[in-house]
Amino acid sequence: MDVFNIVIQTLDSTIRLSVPLLLACLAGLYSERSGIFDIGLEGKMLAGAFASAAAASVFHSAWLGLGMGILISVGLALVHGFASITHRGNQIVSGVAINFIAAGSTIILGQAWFQQGGRTPALAPSERFEAITFPGATALREVPVLGPIYAELISGHSLLVYVAFLAVPFTWWVLFRTRFGLRLRAVGENPAAVDTAGISVEWLRYRAVICTGVLTGIAGAYLAMVQNAGFVKDMTAGKGFIALAALIFAKWKPVNAMFACLLFGFLDALSIRLQGSPLPFIGRVPAQFMQALPYVLTVVLLAGFIGKAIPPKAGGVPYVKER
């Protein structure tokens, strides 16, 4: 029974750790499917985390916090859009710029406004999205096997966790079952064809980066208001890049993205749980190895050794109408 509990707890923290990855990964999906590379997921998530924690603590409202996080994140997404869609700048360069601007300004503004060394004030429970207990979860807890699964894994998460996992089928539906999604995918593969059909390439891509901004904003809010009670400087700690790795790992598909993020979240949860204790058969695995594994796996995938990851064809190329 003890082993079972450990498994349940590890899976539970897997879910919690994979939520920000999943939201950021889906965010990247919209942008990259429309042909706009986005390595600024990290920065947008960080800015969203800061804005949401700051607003939540000032206005004492989790919802206002979430709104502000989304607003700021969308703002940065629009800067990326302005540079890479309107001015046809280099999308990688623009993404790098956004990461730096977010990393610096969250610390500077946080220190200037709250005077706590770059932190925001700790959020009270009412200023966060608290865990939702499903009906009957406490009653069913004692039921063997299914009880803990229901009580720990399915019930008892914050609203944003359910939002993240519901965003997966929703994204699939948007991309593959709506007109907007069809056009979005088309503009990432062959913008000239979309343009010929009389649809604005620029507006379509702008809508895609706005979707990205909304989702990275929610991801940031999750980090600052659910996983932690407030903003800590550099709290994304590379999650935006792991999400990017997951996106490639998932070959730019929403359901795959969920499994990729769960896998990377699981690796993270496992390395926290193991903390240097030896594994059967393998012996002690250095924590750094587990931390590097998502990146190594992504490189191996990119190398085409386990299936080939083919990005959207027009990705990274600014669309020039005249030619």
Binding site: G89, Q91, A97, I108, L109
Partner: protein, 378 residues
């Protein structure tokens, strides 16, 4: 890359537009200073005073600039070949391992002038090898170099944490770093060079001989890019991979060579903080210098002279920024990260933002200078 823009006089292209972009970046940075409730003009004055006011400040400015010249050159070499090497941070970090091995093994036997070339070679080799895998994957398997180099930055960080904590750390020590290097692995300071100009006594600035190496590398990069066959091939590939293929240039060879040179330059960046300043290899000693190289290369328009100037500017920001945080507690060193981001945004991603306007302006009083009768922008 063929820009869909009309031609402008060279001084506008290489002088005016970059300056305008830079000015806009600093104006926005000034707005941020205003937002935290300080006076941006006073901040700028403190910054410049801190960087160039005394000999001590100048020495620190040049010390920081040294690192940025290396990382800027690294990014620029790859840029010329049409590759975006975001992995300078990781390549420099891993190069620290090479330096550690060379210095720990030889610092008791050799004097600094004998060990320095070995350490340069070790740093360059480790940096180049760390760039080799992404380069090979790009050339042979078509994996996007930006993504692989980002991944390699993280892998490098994990490798170095493991090496420093579990392997290299001297027994009994708590800090994750190598032991202090002996005399043989400590680079001579160049502070006397500044004192010669009568700028006051310099107590403890780490300005050292790797600055000379950085200048030499800048000259070599210029030679490579504009005066050799290899450089010509790299620029051809960067300008048009199709044309390069048609001209019989081996795609694989050119990508791998360019990336390894880029990685070697990024690796040399590690010499300055380790052998020049701290006299050990510590956790996280690169601290973002590899990323500063992106801003430096973009600002310097990938030309060695521009890179040296841009590196000096960022050196000034780093040194002046440290002084600034004493005077204005609300503005920490992280202000530089914002400025860095803004410079990358305005000098890089938005470099053409003001071009149409300037073009129209030029066309209005001298149509011939634009090279077209009508300066049609976008």
């Amino acid at each position: 890359m063929s820009a869909p823009y009309a031609k402008l006089p060279a001084w506008v292209d290489y002088g005016l537009i970059p300056l305008i972009n830079l000015a806009v970046a600093f104006i926005v940075a000034g707005l941020v200073v205003l937002l935290v409730g300080e006076n941006p003009f006073r901040a700028a004055a403190i910054l410049v005073e801190g960087a160039f006011g005394r000999g001590q400040g100048i020495a620190f400015t040049l010390y920081y600039a040294t690192t940025f010249i290396f990382s800027g050159l690294s990014v620029a070499v790859a840029f010329h070949c049409g590759l975006f090497n975001i992995g300078g941070e990781g390549q420099g970090y891993i190069a620290g391992l090479g330096i550690a091995i060379a210095c720990l093994a030889l610092d008791s036997i050799l004097p600094w002038w004998a060990l320095f070339p070995i350490a340069i070679a070790a740093a360059a080799l480790f940096g180049a090898l760390w760039a080799l895998i992404p380069a090979w994957l790009q050339a042979k398997r078509g994996s996007h170099i930006v993504i692989t180099t980002i991944m390699f930055n993280f892998i490098a960080a994990s490798v170095m944490v493991y090496m420093l904590v579990d392997v290299i750390k001297p027994p009994g020590s708590m800090a994750p770093q190598t032991r202090l290097f002996l005399e043989g692995a400590q680079l001579p300071r160049l502070n006397w060079l500044i004192e010669m100009f009568g700028l006051g006594r310099i107590r403890s600035a780490p300005f050292n001989i790797s600055f000379i190496l950085a200048l030499a590398m800048a000259w070599l990069v210029w030679l490579l890019i504009w005066r050799t066959r290899l450089g010509y091939e790299m620029r051809t590939y960067g300008f048009s991979p199709k044309a390069a293929r048609y001209a019989g240039i081996s795609e694989t060879r050119i990508i791998i060579v360019a990336m390894m040179i880029s990685g070697a330059l990024a690796g040399m960046m590690a010499l300055n903080p380790t052998m020049g300043d701290q006299h050990n290899v510590a956790l996280d000693f690169v601290s973002g210098a590899g990323f500063v190289g992106i801003a430096v290369a973009l600002m310097g328009r990938s030309h060695p002279v521009g890179i040296i100037l841009a590196a000096l500017l960022f050196g000034m920001l780093y040194q002046g920024g440290a002084e600034l945080s004493f005077e204005m507690p609300n503005i920490s060193r992280d202000m530089i990260v914002i400025i860095q981001g803004l410079v990358i945004l305005f000098a890089g991603a938005l470099e053409h933002m003001f071009r149409p306007a300037i073009q129209t302006l030029f066309a209005s009083f001298s149509p011939r200078s634009v090279g077209m009768t009508e300066g049609k922008g976008a």
